[in-house]
């Protein structure tokens, strides 16, 4: 009798039963994360796309559809084309410099020497410390009057005080400065990426190559480089994405100046969309990042897939 009475499931028991199905329980666990990301990344992303196709400003928040006219406006603007050009120079200049420094730094740190741990800890600093704060320190180092860099150049007799460079006031030097600061921020990241890759190359492969007569350069470029390519690619993708869309360095150091010489996409989008309140044009400018991001994401997915095979 007791057994029959118990076989009718109580509501609570049925609920427990559902929770014990792996797919249902799994979906419930993952739902909050997916919802959060959908609501605050997915929906705003679609909003950004729609803004760029509308006449939306903060003074006239209409959702009137205007097609591609915002894009036509900005592409016809020579300032914008200059900004686009600057963004590429800024991104690839600093990534190239960062990678070269990263490769050399990694080769140095591969060799054991006394104090290597402390050296590594100090070299990581530029990448660890909040970039806005490090940028302010650089701004102070590039100061037009009290620049420590100029002081050193003058003390070494390379320039005189009267024609000391005005780092952030000259268009070319300003671009060079923001590139250097960004490369400085990324090279420690490149070092750790290279180190992680190189130490993962199996020693027996290297030994076999050495026995077969491969010298230092040959081992370096025909064995190590191809083997660490996937991980370096992932690091580079991070670098490109975060540089191409960066705002803080330019905003704090030069405000896009002098006369737009260091204006980049993110900065221009910020100025137009937030400071001037022209949301639709700002969104259109920001969306010019998408093609580059898209290419980067496709490449990244290919590397992730390859890893799984």
């Amino acid at each position: 009798m007791v057994a029959i009475a118990d076989s009718v499931p109580k509501p609570a028991a049925r609920f427990r039963f559902i929770l014990d199905r792996r797919d249902v329980f799994g979906s419930i666990l993952v739902a909050p994360a997916i919802l959060y990301v959908l609501l605050l990344v997915g929906v705003p992303f679609l909003m950004a796309v729609y803004y760029s196709l509308s006449a939306y400003t903060i003074y006239d928040p209409s959702w009137r559809f205007v097609g591609l006219s915002n894009f036509v406006d900005i592409v016809e603007n020579p300032e914008f084309r200059h900004t686009l050009y600057n963004t590429f120079i800024f991104t690839f200049g600093s990534q190239f410099l960062g990678l070269v420094l990263g490769k050399f730094g990694a080769l140095l740190l591969l060799r054991p020497f006394p104090g290597r741990k402390i050296v590594r800890a100090l070299i990581i600093l530029p990448w660890a410390v909040p970039i806005a704060l490090a940028t302010v320190a650089w701004q102070w180092m590039f100061d037009s009057l009290y620049s420590v860099i100029n002081w050193t150049l003058i003390a070494l007799g390379i320039v005189s005080r009267s024609d000391a460079p005005n780092w952030l006031g000259n268009p070319h030097l300003a671009m060079l400065s923001v590139i250097v600061v960004n490369a400085w921020r990324f090279f420690p990241f490149a070092i750790v990426i290279f180190l992680a890759g190189i130490t993962a190359v199996p020693q027996d492969v290297l030994d076999a190559a050495t026995v077969d007569g491969a010298g230092f350069w040959r081992r370096n470029y025909q064995i190590i480089m191809p083997m660490i390519l996937p991980i370096v690619a992932i690091g580079l993708i991070f670098g490109i994405v975060f540089t191409f869309t960066d705002l803080s360095i330019v905003f704090l150091m030069t405000m896009g100046g002098p006369v737009g010489a260091t204006s980049v996409l993110a900065f221009s989008g910020f100025q137009t969309g937030i400071n001037s309140g022209d949301v639709s044009h700002g969104a259109a400018i920001s969306l010019f990042m998408l093609p580059v991001l898209f290419v980067v994401v496709v490449v990244m997915l290919r590397f992730i897939r390859r890893r799984e095979i």
Binding site: R22, A33, Y36, L108, V129, I131, A132, A134, A200
Partner: protein, 282 residues
Amino acid sequence: MPRATAAKVLQETSFYGSVAFFLVLAAFPFYWMVITSFKSNADLYNVTNIPFWFNDPPTLEHFHYLFEKTLFTTWLLNSLIIGLCVTAITLVTAVPGAYSLARMIGRNGEALGIGIFLTYLVPPTLLFLPLSRVIAGLGLQNSMWSLVVVYPTFTIPFCTWLLMGFFKALPVEIEEAAIVDGCSLWGAFVKMAIPLALPGILTVVIFTFTLTLQEFVYALTFISASDQKPITLGVATDLIRGDIFYWGEIMAGALIASIPVAIAYNLFLDRFISGITGGAVK
């Protein structure tokens, strides 16, 4: 063998010379922060002084000014509150999410995980325009709580990805044994998987906190009231009066805010690298 010795000395010298070059390159701006923050103004703003060392005795005046006459302590507190709230939101969503993606959903879990991780690459500078409308709609404009709402948009994807790796590395047999012994799925997750993944969860806590400290773009976009700013934004933008930069105070503030992040990064660097490379390196 004098020639071999000379070559050896030359090699060693160039090696340590290169190491020194990298050290100076990486650390000089921070040395500059330290020197500037302890220098008196008379020493700072004198172009004939040697800038690399103290010409006048070091002073704490900038730190006194920072703590007593600016909103620095408010910014510190704001950053702490923002960091704690974002960490809580991230843990509550990312830990179960990652566990589910690693264990429950099978092959779709991997694809979903990559999908979530890719949202980490959607840049703030693309989302800040619509998000500022969303924030205004929530009535949070010019409030630090807007950052508590927005920061999980990048901490959740990042931490879910990181934790997925940790859960996958755990032996599934332990949870299976618990279930055979009468544990529910929830029980196996809470009593078995979470305690075993604690090192991973600790990593996530540290990185969520540092990511919130490093963020600048959203804070700049959403907050203009001085007393609502987090520390990074406050130090970088609020210690300027007109055209005058309070360099001593700015560098002192930057120094204080940088130290905890620098320590955290150095302690957890290896886990961070294996996290973002998706375990490409074993």
